[in-house]
Symmetry: C2
Subunit: 416 residues, 2 copies
């Protein structure tokens, strides 16, 4: 079905909060095969909400509102929905009872404006409030639907399944939709588009489409979307298309869907029974932090040394190379931290984050070293951007180089 | 002015990413005194973009688009804007030259579709691309304006000032607007609102307003906005209001505007002629990374040890305490890293990030240690949330405790 999302809240328009609800609802709709081509964000303003609801109903089979169901005067989604549906608001005694009970349970007296939350457009079905005081609403408007969800994220998420079930019940499609994200690192967006161009064109007119999604530090994603008669058929087609993309893009593909460079590294270390230590200069802890973010990291991550001051490289890691932005320094740092922390694998970063040059080398010059046992190797990468960007990309480059090296890729290092 | 935001990107509608740009742009508009009552989110679809642009122009003085300026086939914001403005797209040779230069600098050949980014609607002004390949656009449409920004957050943020300047130039208000953000850490939103309530009410009816912005990891901000006849008058009023807020909130205020906890720590270390080393367990490099992010960190930051494995705490940092989530361990880690890296100050974090408990203590239990010379102290904080949130808040808590301790605050530690 085509579903239009209407986010309600002046705090969204003032930029006081980021609308994370929109992503949650949109992702759920896409995962359930619904299309959503338009989203409105409006303030706590009757006229604006009514306008967005009307436009949404004209363009879609259903509208989902988020927010504006609270007890205060500026929570007016209920009124706007009733106006658009052309029905009166009536107090639902069951809902009122539940609200009173919530306050009684907390041992608090109920401000009377809370009963505004028991007002329900005539003909609407209520989604029970299990996490807060505001119920959700399923309001039929002719053959279409307005579903109202609260703006508090965990209340919204709790009610979302019921909205999806209602959409499913109203849906008469004979097919299932599905998508998969193929994730790459190391290719520019335009180069990637070039490699995939022929396949992109070949899919024209079929039920499978490709889309490119440049997400900066997360690399470039290729999203495959398709539809077929059954879940199995969708899965088979996504599998086949993933295989085609892996063939075209080789090991620039590091994973799919929820994979990250660090979870892929974690898997590879686990497979080989290895553990890891890191030595960081310009990345300054960012590499360690991404690794520690993986749940269960204690199984394969020993720790690291942030050797920001050159003296720390020499004294703590035993680096002998006089120049700290060099192949030798990167190799010695990787070997040194591996030994110091008794790990089987060491990874090191050293380079120039900027804004100033270092040892006559410009910002963005970064050496990445990998040590496995007594063997080591290093590679230079030249990165663009400001201090934060250079550090962030140096971190991702180190993870990628480690991934490729552990996989024995020809693009990885060959420690000797 | 009334400004309508149009976010472009199928990935937004599919819920693959959260629209953080919308918050950034909306917050900047509000801070500069503009109103924004409506926001559209549309896909990479010509007809939808054209519709949203037209509706936006009909309802506002200016429209700001975000996204769809990249080099690939699905980046079609330029075309839609030209269609709405009723002008052709023409190649801007200066822009084309800059794009070629970016590729040449990287020593890479330029895929030809990158030149799509040099297409500019006739009559438009270009916002130079300093961070990426896509320029921004300022497109006059009659007496109104469409401003186009790239979807990549740091490219967008880099160009935002130029859009705000253009809006300012088009604005015929006889007064100057200004705002300042007073930044706090350690207070809940409702407690902060309580402390400021009286002042908030006292400003009613004046030209100065206060707004609270809860921004999670960045703490809670209080934005002061005012207007007056001149820049000097605005600045004087902001200074006065900042003083009032500092009086009310004490050293919960850590800075203003672009200050962060780490830049404030950096300033304090500089003032006292101290340098710093950090030892991190659960934060796993995140603390070091925030410190290294400060330009010029090499003047006062020595480095750190990510002691993730308990053995690293004992062997490398000389921790004797048997329980690693404890006051003793936090103090010993801070002392140990200070000594190992020859720094005057050491800071340590150790605790339970989750999802599992550790040493019988629940996720969110965090000890922060500070060592100055041979003296040390530690404090426990109990944090809520998932692994990432606990680590992030532990990092900020460590920075805040260090700041307070260096400032001699009664809320800081008293190392003995």
């Amino acid at each position: 079905m085509e579903v239009c999302i209407v986010a309600v809240g002046t705090e969204l328009l003032l930029g006081q909060i980021t609308d994370t609800n929109a992503r949650v609802v949109a992702e759920a709709l896409a995962a359930h095969g619904h299309s959503s081509r338009l989203r409105f964000t409006v303030g706590d303003n009757h006229q604006q909400i009514v306008w967005a609801l009307s436009e949404g109903l004209a363009r879609a089979d259903a509208v989902i509102t988020m927010g504006g169901l609270g007890p205060t005067q500026d929570d007016i989604t209920r009124e706007a929905v009733a106006a658009v549906a052309g029905v009166p608001l009536e107090r639902d005694e069951e809902v009122a009872q539940r609200i009173r009970a919530i306050f009684a349970d907390r041992g608090r007296s109920m401000p009377s404006n809370n009963l505004r939350q028991a007002l329900v457009p005539r003909g609407a079905r209520v989604i029970e409030q299990r996490k807060g005081t505001a119920p959700g609403l399923l309001v039929p408007v002719g053959r279409k639907l307005i579903a109202c969800l609260p703006g508090v994220p965990f209340e919204l998420e709790d009610m979302l399944d019921e909205v999806l079930a209602e959409l499913r019940a109203r849906d008469d499609r004979p097919y299932v939709l599905g998508s998969r994200v193929v994730r790459t690192w190391g290719l520019g967006e335009s180069r990637l588009a070039e490699l995939v161009a022929e396949r992109f064109d070949a899919l024209e007119g079929t039920e499978t489409t490709l889309a490119f999604l440049a997400s900066g530090i997360e690399g470039i994603k290729v999203r495959v979307t398709t539809r077929a008669a059954s879940d199995d058929a969708v899965r088979a087609r996504l599998d086949a298309e993933e295989a085609v993309l892996r063939e075209l893009l080789g090991d620039y593909v590091f994973g799919v869907d929820e994979d990250t460079l660090e979870t892929v590294v974690a898997r590879a270390l686990g497979t080989h029974g290895l553990d890891l230590a890191v030595a960081e200069s310009l990345t300054g802890g960012m590499l360690a932090s991404r690794l520690v973010a993986v749940p269960g990291a204690s199984a394969w991550f020993r720790g690291g040394v942030v050797a920001y001051d050159p003296a720390v490289k020499h004294e703590v890691l035993g680096v002998a190379a006089p120049r700290v932005v060099s192949e030798e320094a990167a190799r010695e740092m990787a070997l040194g931290v591996r030994e110091l922390l008794h790990a089987s694998v060491g990874v090191a970063t050293t380079g120039v984050a900027g804004p100033e040059s270092l040892e006559g080398q410009p910002p963005g010059t970064v050496w990445i070293g990998v040590a496995i046992g007594q063997r080591s190797a290093a590679r230079m990468v030249q990165l663009l951007g400001d201090r934060e960007r250079v550090r962030t990309y140096a971190t991702a480059s180190a993870l990628d180089l480690l991934r490729l090296t552990l996989a024995g890729s020809s693009r990885g290092l060959d420690p000797r």
